[in-house]
């Protein structure tokens, strides 16, 4: 019963730990980018599921009959901002991956390592 009630939050924990696992253990640069995106998606799911109120409808103003409650819309605004930031981060990390492939010839982070010490 506890698992069914808290199902969104358990999914959030699974997503974030999968993202951290990918960042630590995978060597290919594109997989590291996917790990960062997974962490961002986990936090987005957490933000959206915080706004839920019991037996409420979507917060669209022109859709509401009298005396119904709506879910909190500020959590959705925060999630939207985070999606935009995640888009900018993804674009930047993919451009850096293209630049690294052009100069080093490989996408493996064990081999693309000229700065050491």
């Amino acid at each position: 019963m506890v698992v069914v009630n808290n199902f969104p939050f358990i999914t959030v924990v699974i997503l974030i730990s999968l993202g951290i696992y990918t960042l630590i253990f995978k060597k290919n640069l594109l997989k590291i980018a996917i790990g960062i995106i997974l962490m961002g998606n986990g936090v987005n799911l957490f933000l959206v599921s915080l706004g839920y109120r019991h037996e409420s409808i979507a917060p669209i103003y022109t859709n509401a009959p009298e005396e119904t409650s709506m879910v909190m819309p500020t959590a959705q605004a925060l999630t939207l901002t985070n999606i935009v930031i995640g888009l900018a981060t993804t674009a930047l990390i993919l451009s850096l991956a293209v630049a690294i492939y052009k100069h080093y010839g490989t996408l493996d982070t064990d081999k693309a390592r000229r700065l050491r010490g």
């Binding site: 669209i60 103003y61 022109t62 509401a64 009959p65 999606i83 674009a91 451009s95 630049a99």
Partner: protein, 159 residues
């Protein structure tokens, strides 16, 4: 490299216009139905991505001018900040058009109704500015990254 088949090229050329129109609909109706500046801008940019996948980098770059898109992006950003400055008599970002009867100034009615697009005040204008900025920024990003990939492939084929 071989071209995509004739069916794919024809259908994508036909649907390109409809996707752009739908994107602008999502931008301008952002304060009434779900959507808004960023979402609509990304829909229009996905139309550009469709052209890039179907026709390849070189032909798409002849069709979409990078300098024009970059200029549109700067215009969108400056329009956003200029609209925010206009309310400076009271405070920054003040919504001076709402409930005033001017442009976008109707008062929204309560209850179930089809939705009036002329409400909201300053918000639809800012959505337009943000939508213009997002579509041109995403267009420039996908053109530049695919250009970098195309130059790496050309260098590899030459050597």
């Amino acid at each position: 490299m071989k071209q995509m088949s004739r069916v794919v090229r024809t259908i994508s050329s036909l649907t390109f216009g409809y996707i752009v129109i739908f994107g602008f609909y999502v931008i301008i109706y952002g304060h009434v139905t779900p959507g808004g500046g960023f979402q609509g801008g990304v829909v229009v940019a996905s139309a550009f991505a469709l052209l890039l996948v179907v026709y390849g980098h070189n032909k798409t770059e002849e069709f979409l001018n990078t300098n024009l898109l970059s200029f549109a992006e700067s215009t969108g950003l400056i329009l956003f900040i200029a609209l925010a400055f206009m309310g400076l008599g009271v405070s920054f970002f003040y919504n001076f058009l709402t409930n005033s009867g001017g442009l976008f100034g109707h008062t929204p009615v309560s209850g179930v109704n089809p939705g009036d697009v002329y409400t909201g005040g300053l918000i639809p204008l800012m959505e337009l500015a943000v939508g213009l900025e997002v579509l041109s920024a995403m267009g420039v990003i996908i053109l530049v990254i695919s250009g970098g990939a195309a130059s790496i492939k050309k260098k590899k084929e030459k050597s």
